[in-house]
């Protein structure tokens, strides 16, 4: 009856991964593989933007105002040196997109990590401790969940601006990360709490209690590894959301400053040229943003279905 009879030697971790349903469903979905490829390429070229990008758009010495507002290379008046055209200051759009994606991804990843740390900790404690601790923590989460993440991010951002006048430019990214993280930790907390509630009643946890392990050890060694699956799914979906929120805040002018623009900032800058016909300044960063978010969302969607066999 058991798989143990079939094979003689236990498999290595790597072999198990390649034999898993997760890997199987990955290799059997071309869309998902494409999404993974796109994500990897974007992350790679963003991280190594200084080497990949043809120009450094923030090096004033490289800029020439004569090259400003050039359309994409294949259009009339285009310059083959600037594939996707240039903006009002003569910066190469393609390069600014790569540098912008760097900021977007940085804020996205950092805020997901911070939110995950807060959320997982709160969820584990609430789920394991139960009682009053649980009630209070979850009440707070419920109230916060009533309000959309974007509103909370805006509010935190506004408050931080008020608290840290002047120094804001330098702290912009930090403020943004905190704002997005504080607006999204609830998702992790609720999921981890409900999984912890389930896992807590599982007999392996009781077995650990009978052995005499103290609660923190049980939480970290036994419960945490078993509640991480859904956290991974949320983290992927939240990464897409965090990138969108960052872009939105930057677009609204309360995100990262124009000195180190993210994709959202670029779109905001380009938006002013929309009516004068220089559409490429907006459209290409916009497309870049959509492709990045769509690829991450596709991965998240696949991961959710693949880790939740009920849905198949």
């Amino acid at each position: 009856m058991s798989a143990a009879d079939k094979q003689d030697a236990p498999q290595s971790a790597l072999a198990r991964f390649f034999d898993s349903d997760l890997w199987w469903s990955f290799t059997h979905s071309p869309v998902v593989m494409l999404a993974a490829l796109v994500t990897v390429v974007i992350i790679f070229s963003a991280v190594f933007a200084p080497w990949v990008a043809p120009y450094n758009p923030f090096d004033l010495a490289q800029l020439d105002l004569m090259d400003s507002l050039k359309p994409p290379a294949w259009l009339e008046g285009g310059d083959p040196r600037y594939l996707l055209g240039t903006d009002d200051q003569g910066r190469d759009i393609f390069s600014t997109i790569l540098y912008g994606a760097r900021i977007s991804l940085l804020v996205g990843f950092l805020s997901v990590i911070v939110a995950m740390l807060i959320g997982v900790t709160v969820g584990l404690i609430a789920g394991y401790a139960g009682g009053l601790t649980d009630t209070i923590l979850m009440r707070i989460a419920d109230i916060q969940l009533t309000f959309p993440a974007i509103l909370i991010a805006l509010l935190v951002d506004g408050v931080m601006r008020g608290l840290l006048p002047g120094s804001h430019e330098n702290l912009a990214i930090f403020v943004l990360v905190l704002a997005i993280a504080l607006s999204s930790w609830v998702q992790y907390a609720r999921t981890v709490r409900s999984s912890t509630l389930v896992e807590r009643t599982r007999e392996y946890v009781q077995a650990a209690q009978v052995i005499g392990l103290p609660a923190p050890l049980i939480l970290v060694r036994h419960i945490l590894p078993n509640v991480l699956g859904p956290v991974l799914v949320i983290a992927t979906i939240q990464l897409a959301l965090a990138i969108i929120i960052e872009a939105t805040l930057s677009f609204l002018g309360v995100g990262v400053p124009p000195t180190s623009p993210s994709l959202g900032t670029l779109i905001r800058i380009g938006n002013d040229y929309l009516f004068s016909g220089e559409w490429w300044i907006t459209v290409f960063p916009g497309l870049g943003l959509i492709i990045l978010v769509l690829a991450v969302n596709l991965l998240g969607d696949w991961l959710r279905d693949a880790l939740n066999p009920k849905l198949r």
């Binding site: 058991s2 009630t135 599982r202 007999e203 209690q209």
Partner: protein, 573 residues
Amino acid sequence: MTEAQDTPALLDIRGLKVEFPSRRGVLVAARDVDLSLQAGEILGVVGESGAGKSTIAYAIMGLIEPPGRMAAGEIRLKGERIDGLPREKMRKIRGKRIGMIFQDPLTSLDPLQTVEAQLVETMRTHLPISESEARARAVELLGQVGIPNPAERVKNYPHQFSGGMRQRVVIALAISCEPEVLLADEPTTALDVSIQAQILDLLRKLVRDKGMGMIIITHDMGVIAEVTDRVAVMYRSRMVETGPSEKILTHPDHPYSRSLIAAVPPADHRIERFPLVEYIEKAGDEQAKLDLSTHWLGQARDFGSHEETLLKVEDLTMRFMTRPSLIPSRRRYMTAVDHVSFAIRNGEVFGLVGESGSGKSTVARLICGIHKPLSGRIHFAGEELTAFTSRRAANHLRRQMQMIFQDPYSSLNPRMKVRDIVAEPIRFHKLASSNAQVRRIVSDLLDHVGLGASAALRYPHEFSGGQRQRISIARALATRPRFLICDEPTSALDVSIQAQILNLLKDLQEELGLTMLFISHDLPVIRQMCDRVGVMQHGKLLEVAETESLFTSPRTDYTRHLLKLMPRMKRAA
């Protein structure tokens, strides 16, 4: 059962084969199944989990979930072929000519509709009757299935009925259009023993009164003995034997049926060991006797055997909050354990028996410190456990008591290798001096519970239920305990595996001189395992007696009631 050949059987299945294609190949859930059912007859389909019993019922109903499909065979209802009928025609047969009852009454009914609405909808789908006629009949049906006050209850929602009552409602729905065939898929498995008996009685009566034919699918030999006329035994998707119940229960032909029946614990006498069922799963070789003076398990057994009483429980009380609230006055509690006192002597196996919700498992969890009692005292090895304020202080005592849990699928951390699972208590209590020694002890323990040392590097999901329970036992032994709590250790296992595990526990108990608290709802198992037994109901301990005297001369009405419900199988002499 000599039927004239010219009248076709009520239901006739020939050469049925059901397949579920998956990426790891085609899983055949049932093959070469031949069955026939006559009107007024109750046919049992028995087999262990995964044997393909339920698949037959779904195939008859035409409800096999895709991608599963019926790959071969034919199904005839009164001679007319019904497999492969167009969807709409098949729908008209379901509920009208063939009714079906599911296992879990708590989830079988639409929670948002009244019982009446569901009954009326079903009848008006199949029968040409008016709304008011259907309503009148709904009340009548509820009366027939034994629901008191049917005219009023018919207006209720499912959540207002208890589990047993809900199963009656499900039965009423299944028979509302007077089907010729009734399929019951484990209809009593989710219910308590006393309710089980009532539901079986009801089903038998309905079949006799209405002249239906019924197929009852179960893993429980007691149910088979109780109600069926004929039995079909399934083993690994094949039907290995069919015949009159009387004969199969006493003189089975097929070796599998024989071993299956031999593995059922006898209710009327005590046996030394269970006959091993080699047919299913390697039971593990007989273990060489351990020499405790040299073996690791024998080391540091400094606790000696001087105390007469190892565990004493006094006035133990525990309650659960059933409705949490920030306001104390709005909280609701359920008393799970109500002033329970008993003592366990050194070296004995003490049983606790009772229906679900009687508080027996809670007692176990209070003793080993998973729950905290509201009041009362627990003494272990001469020290008062309940007097310790910190966990750490009681660790040296906790190490001496371990627990084996009910559900082999949840009692092992799925993310840990078997080696780490078994090694965790050794490392935590620092019972070994080096990693190499830990590893040696783990393989020794795994070997000793009949798994073989190679199991250490695998993950729990690679093992079957019985094997996992062996891993649990190895983990429990790893602290070198003197007191072992077994909480329904075999109730999630198939009967043949149960026999192996019970044998193993018996051997270990003798070999290591363990004291045991053995908890079960299953009286025959209790009779085989325990020296003394306590009977619990609603959190109270009703009586404590020597096992044999409890079975032969029970003192309380409740014990007599439980004994009466205990399924008894006639056996070959």
